[in-house]
Symmetry: C2
Subunit: 350 residues, 2 copies
């Protein structure tokens, strides 16, 4: 479904998310504002990470950098999935991944968690969004908000830190399901309020990052995670802002993800986009999904891969070009530029 009238970047993204006709797929990159950009590193300096996220001027500045520096067609709030977590009453440090002082292992700990209004506990997030929205409106660029999904936040809160396979979390699911159920319920409330407030502050699309849900087999995903995604999708209501759902490492979960109510499924780099588009593309839009490591390939190779993704995405009701995971710190800026250029050209634009 193509339209010939050139669209603004904002219209293009919103239409692609909703499965309406577009001139070509929009393009942006997960973690597009980050350490791979020298200009980001200059602003960041040696400011501790959570402090940097709270620094309104700087967060606005680095959020905007990818538009001019690499040509991205959308701006995502610069922040971290852990930003709203300390307000629950949990002590979190970054070294550099989140480390939780007292991991949550009991129902008593869950019951002690606070239920803050994010507008009061992390007001800077919404101020960053309001300022970004003012900057972007004149350029007709779309603004994306985001949150970590409850299962992924729970992963860190239970395990205490990042881990390739989060064994303590997965054991809780089998050995203490009531604790995990209660924790997910609390986090779901937080995430709904948080994304709701982001939409109110100007986010026009919101993305939910469930980076670790792919550790679960499909049956456990359907039991533990899908109901949470459905609840969030239902409570936010896609009429206000399309919801994008990313699940890390989940090639086996894509069909279940399509039952979440999300408008867009953001696919891990291991998912075959062509076959997902053929199976599910009439029901949801797809986002993705170049392997972020492929940005180290020669520019011609990147361009070829982008053309293949664009061709595969045509079978879906809508396609947002993106990576299959965030940009990595050692990524060559040239590779990111080659990706964006190829995306713009793939739709016939020169």
């Amino acid at each position: 479904m193509r339209v010939l009238k050139p669209l603004s970047p904002r219209e293009r993204l919103l239409r692609a998310c909703r499965g309406e006709p577009v001139d070509r797929p929009p393009v942006w990159l997960m973690r597009q504002a980050g350490r791979y950009l020298p200009e980001y590193r200059r602003v960041r300096g040696d400011i501790p990470f959570l402090e940097f996220c709270r620094s309104i001027e700087r967060a606005v500045e680095v959020s905007l950098q990818p538009v001019d520096l690499v040509g991205s067609e959308a701006v995502i709030l610069f922040s971290d999935i852990f930003v709203p977590v300390p307000s629950l009453g949990v002590e979190v440090d970054f070294r550099p991944g989140p480390v939780v002082a007292q991991p949550i292992r009991s129902l008593a700990q869950v019951e002690k968690l606070r239920a803050p209004d994010p507008r009061e506990s992390v007001p800077f997030v919404f101020e960053i969004l309001r300022r970004l929205r003012r900057e972007l409106d004149s350029r007709e660029l779309p603004l994306i908000g985001f949150a970590g999904a409850p299962f992924t936040l729970a992963a860190y809160l239970v395990e205490g830190h990042g881990s390739p396979q989060f064994p303590v979390l997965r054991r809780m699911l089998y050995a203490a399901p009531d604790v995990l159920r209660a924790l997910l319920a609390r986090l779901t409330d937080l995430v709904v309020r948080y994304l709701d407030a982001q939409i109110e502050a100007g986010a026009q699309v919101v993305q939910l990052f469930d980076t670790w849900a792919g550790l679960l087999p499909e049956a456990e995903y359907r039991q533990w995670v899908l109901p949470v995604h459905r609840e969030i999708a239902a409570k936010l209501g896609s009429a206000r802002a399309p919801l994008v759902l990313f699940v890390g490492g989940g090639p086996h979960l894509v069909d279940a993800m399509a039952e979440s109510g999300a408008d867009v499924l953001s696919l891990d780099w291991r998912v075959d986009l062509a076959s997902a588009a053929q199976r599910l593309g009439s029901r949801v839009s797809l986002q993705g999904n170049l392997d972020p490591c492929a940005l180290s390939a020669p520019p011609d190779d990147i361009a070829r891969r982008v053309r293949e993704l664009v061709a595969a995405g045509r079978a879906a009701r809508g396609h947002v070009l993106n990576l299959g995971h965030g940009v990595l710190p050692d990524t060559p800026v040239e590779g990111v530029r080659a990706f964006v250029s190829a995306a713009r050209e793939a739709g016939g634009e020169t």
Copy 2:
């Protein structure tokens, strides 16, 4: 396909691997000799890991422990996938995962790697196997050998250490494919010789562990990893000893794995065994695949899950009950026993 004549554990495993009729599925567990057993920890003491692997008496002792302590029906060589690697001329330390002093990033480094005969460079491995075989023959228990697969060994050699997503390795695949190709060729030679010598020393089944190949999309897996698996399977020849292939985190790769020539596909816990058995079960046997974390569930729950796996496995030409990854250190011994008991009972044995 059932036979009513009670089989010895050795016959049962070999027949299940080859897709011949059995009385019930055999059962063993990946990493069944390990830290979850107090008796293992007693023998291990504070001996450094590689030294422990080289200690013939101790390695024999801990290899045998799971037979009497948890009722496992097969013995796997106690060792580590990195044991044959230092003989290439690479300095490796364990802290506790493998750390490579000088990660391999250039063709010159690959060309400098030695091509040792494992019989000379790691003779203790084969002595352990010969002793185990003598112990096991009187009890008609099968002996399993193993090796790390070339891609997974390359993952550590290139990255320098373990990593959730091995970005340096994956980048090499796109940016310096000639280096990776040369490294995989060297490692394939090593693995073929190593497994060949294990079979000669008494291993009756051999398992190839490709723990990290699931990081690749299917197209890259088919390009980089499948030819390596095929070469190993072809050179070993399954008439001498069935080959079991494990690929970690690879629900999207199971169909490609079935083209490897391996006799048995050992499935990650995230793979749906029922659907794999229906799709591929006429061509290969399957092994697996309970989530190792599910061993923390109550015994009744473990037994129910084992019965489900046994029922699902009936659609395959052969099924070896096992986990979907190795036993984790904090696993309750009771859970492991419950798994093995349920496996024995699921076939009608009391």
